[in-house]
Amino acid sequence: MLSLNKIEIVQGSFNLGAHFDVTAGQKVAVVGPSGAGKSTLVGAICGFIDLRTGQLILAGRDITNAQPDARDMAILFQDNNLFPHLTIAQNVGLGICPALRLTSDETAQVHKALQRVGLTNFGSRKPSELSGGQQSRAALARALVQSKTWMILDEPFAALGPALRAEMLDLVAEVADETNAGIMMVTHAPEDARRIADSVVFVADGVAHGPQATAGLFDNPPPALKAYLG
């Protein structure tokens, strides 16, 4: 379970509060109007943004002040998910050892992960030689080897076309299921949320509302969400 215990984030005049729990293994979409603070919320959960008040509790452990890499979360950003000077295999390998010293077992694990996401022969290539979708797959392969309790995604496939995005979302869901991980994904596309999320966190007017079942929420949206969905 991930608990956001009365957290408050302040950045200049911007203010965001949240108080809710998310069950382990859940797939949660974070939606809301642009500028509402979706990315800020997951940034705080990942440890990139300090909390003004409140605690983050993950499986009974207080992670409020933990380093980003010590929070049991794998993260996919909008862009710059891969180091352009490292090969795909090295980029994935970083998920196992941040100093890139891999045993042969671990190298095999990297190759298996690449195989799983459909990049079998791409290990020795540089990211610039891959298409956008392939780059996302490589980042997913890394999340796979990281094998964390949570996968946090911040609009990772925004630049991809609809068909490819759907394909990637399915892959994310599969990877999460295989590693028994929960997902928390920022998106501004309701169809993405419908596609993989069990529940939705709606962010608007300085408040992140606790997760509600996806179908129920979208079928019967409160006024603020209704305004956003148009």
Binding site: G47, F48, P68, D69, N81, F83, L94, P98
Partner: protein, 519 residues
């Protein structure tokens, strides 16, 4: 980024900066231990201070003014060999001073090529000695720097702006006001300040071209106070004046100066639609031709006289070239060992004013550092055994301000782009350097290392102060050849020095740019 997610440890950076400050302070403490009395500055010293500031202002002003039309021409003309020419035009900046002097004299000297031509045309000869000579030499060394910073600025203007101007049919006057003037106002003040600081601490140029006691620089006055009167008090006082003036200007530099771009990217050419008139084309060609002649003819002169003297170069000169080589390589290691952690610290600290510490390398007198350390070392060890070590350290320190200017922006950008990813993956400390910062900044590291190596190879430096006769550097050996009537062999040694300096720079710069990944 959250306070609990620091990508790199600042301890080494702070330690390196502290090391620099302590090294400088220790030198002054060393001198202070032996100062009997501090007398005020006499008329000769005030004259030196005035002259130093005057020639630095003039040199900086002329370098900047001349660089504008040349950089503009280079930025907007496409021609065969442009990339090579731009590279070649950068050469004087890393040319060892004692080598450059030979080349400058061969072209601009009293019996140089230029005066021979003027004499044939029946025009009065020009003189390279005195204030104009010092300024000419300083412009020769620093014009390349000004040109490089300006070309870099011009090429940083988004192509869309030129397209828009062409689309709207904007004339040259408006073009200047809209695009070029803001560019110049942004880049020139810092460039001016940087060249001013470099010229302030110049020593060797005024030695030969000064023309007399009128043209004494502060650094030369320090040398005289030390050498003739052994007046350590006055030498220390003069050094403090120099530190104050140069340090003050250096602070300005760090507020104003654009970061120094590395060699790559200069060959990227923008399609331009302005300046297509015949007059503009002619002027641009003329500026490029004159600048190219001014900056490259002395190099050819060194090449020609050096080839003639090369056969007379004795074996010992080659041995000292070897010494210079490894001194330069260790200097580079020391430099990177200090500059990288410092650059990391500066790049992550909220205000970059720490970088001013790096400027100490430009502002302090190497002679004072050498003397101060001599005094400190002497009771415990034979300073002669430490001569090369001190030379290595001082050489690294001199290159530090340039290295920081080059490295900090690149490291800052890398941290901005990949800091979160690195933190998410738990890459930090040494692994951060090894896996992320080093490979991402390799072109800049190569460029800084090349610059440091070239500066180190060409520096006569503190080794002359307490050298070991059996281990001498190439500039010192060249100096000795000149002191033993062997001018031809000295010219040969100068050529070796030139090849060594350029070769080291080129190899390291090439290493940095090889396989450099597009951003």
């Amino acid at each position: 980024m959250a306070r609990n997610a620091k990508p790199i440890n600042n301890v080494t950076g702070i330690a390196a900066a502290t090391f620099i400050v302590v090294a400088v302070l220790l030198a002054f403490v060393g001198i202070g231990l032996r100062v009997d009395s501090v007398s005020g500055l006499g008329p000769a010293e005030w004259q030196a201070i005035r002259f130093t500031i005057l020639q630095s202002l003039l040199s900086a002003f002329l370098s900047c003014v001349l660089a504008v039309p040349v950089a503009r021409a280079l930025a907007r003309r496409r021609f065969w060999g442009r990339t090579f020419l731009i590279t070649l035009l950068g050469a004087p900046f890393i040319l060892p001073v004692i080598v450059a002097m030979l080349g400058l004299l061969a072209i601009f000297g009293r019996s140089g090529v230029l005066n021979d031509i003027l004499a044939m045309l029946g025009i009065t000869k020009i003189s390279i000695y005195g204030l104009q000579g010092v300024v000419l030499a300083h412009v020769f060394f620093n014009l390349p720097l000004a040109i490089r910073l300006l070309v870099q600025g011009w090429q940083g203007v988004p192509a869309e702006r030129f397209r828009l101007s062409a689309q709207l049919g904007i004339g040259p006057g408006m073009m200047f006001r809209l695009i070029e003037l803001p560019l110049l106002l942004r880049i020139l003040p810092g460039t001016f300040a940087l060249i001013f600081v470099i010229c302030l601490t110049s020593f060797a140029v005024a030695l030969t071209l000064g023309g007399g006691p009128r043209a004494t620089t502060i650094e030369l006055a320090v040398y005289q106070a030390f050498r003739f009167d052994f007046n350590l008090g006055r030498a220390a006082l003069l050094s403090l004046v120099q530190l104050f003036v140069a340090g003050g200007a250096a602070v300005l530099v760090f507020w104003l100066v654009p970061s120094i771009s590395f060699g790559g990217g200069m060959d990227r050419m923008q399609r331009r639609w302005d300046g297509q008139g015949r007059g503009a084309r002619f002027l641009d060609s003329a500026f490029i031709f004159v600048a190219a002649s001014f900056l490259t003819l002395p190099l050819f002169a060194i090449l020609i006289s050096g080839l003639r003297g090369l056969l007379e170069v004795p074996l010992i000169v080659w041995l000292s070239a070897w010494t210079s080589l490894w001194v330069a390589l260790i200097s580079v290691l020391v430099l990177l060992g200090t500059a990288l952690p410092m650059a990391g610290w500066i790049a992550t600290s909220r205000n970059g004013s720490v970088e001013v510490i790096g400027s100490l390398g430009l502002s302090v007198s190497p002679l004072m550092i050498g003397t101060g350390w001599f005094i400190l070392i002497y009771p415990y060890a034979n300073p002669t055994d430490w001569a090369l070590l001190v030379t290595i350290a001082v050489n690294a320190m001199m290159a530090l301000p340039f290295a920081l200017r080059i490295l900090v922006p690149s490291i800052r950008e890398t941290l901005q782009t990949y800091g979160r990813l690195s933190a998410a993956l738990g890459i930090s400390g040494f692994a951060m350097w090894r896996c992320v910062l080093w490979p991402r900044s390799r072109p800049q590291i190569g460029f800084a290392a090349g610059l440091a190596a070239a500066l180190s190879v060409g520096d006569l430096g503190v080794i002359a102060l307490f050298g070991d006769p059996d281990r001498s550097t190439l500039p010192l050996q060249m100096y000795r050849l000149m002191g033993s009537y062997r001018t031809d062999a000295a010219a040969g040694a100068a050529l070796i020095l030139l090849v060594l300096a350029f070769g080291l720079f080129w190899i390291m710069d090439y290493w940095g740019r090889r396989n450099a990944i597009a951003k």
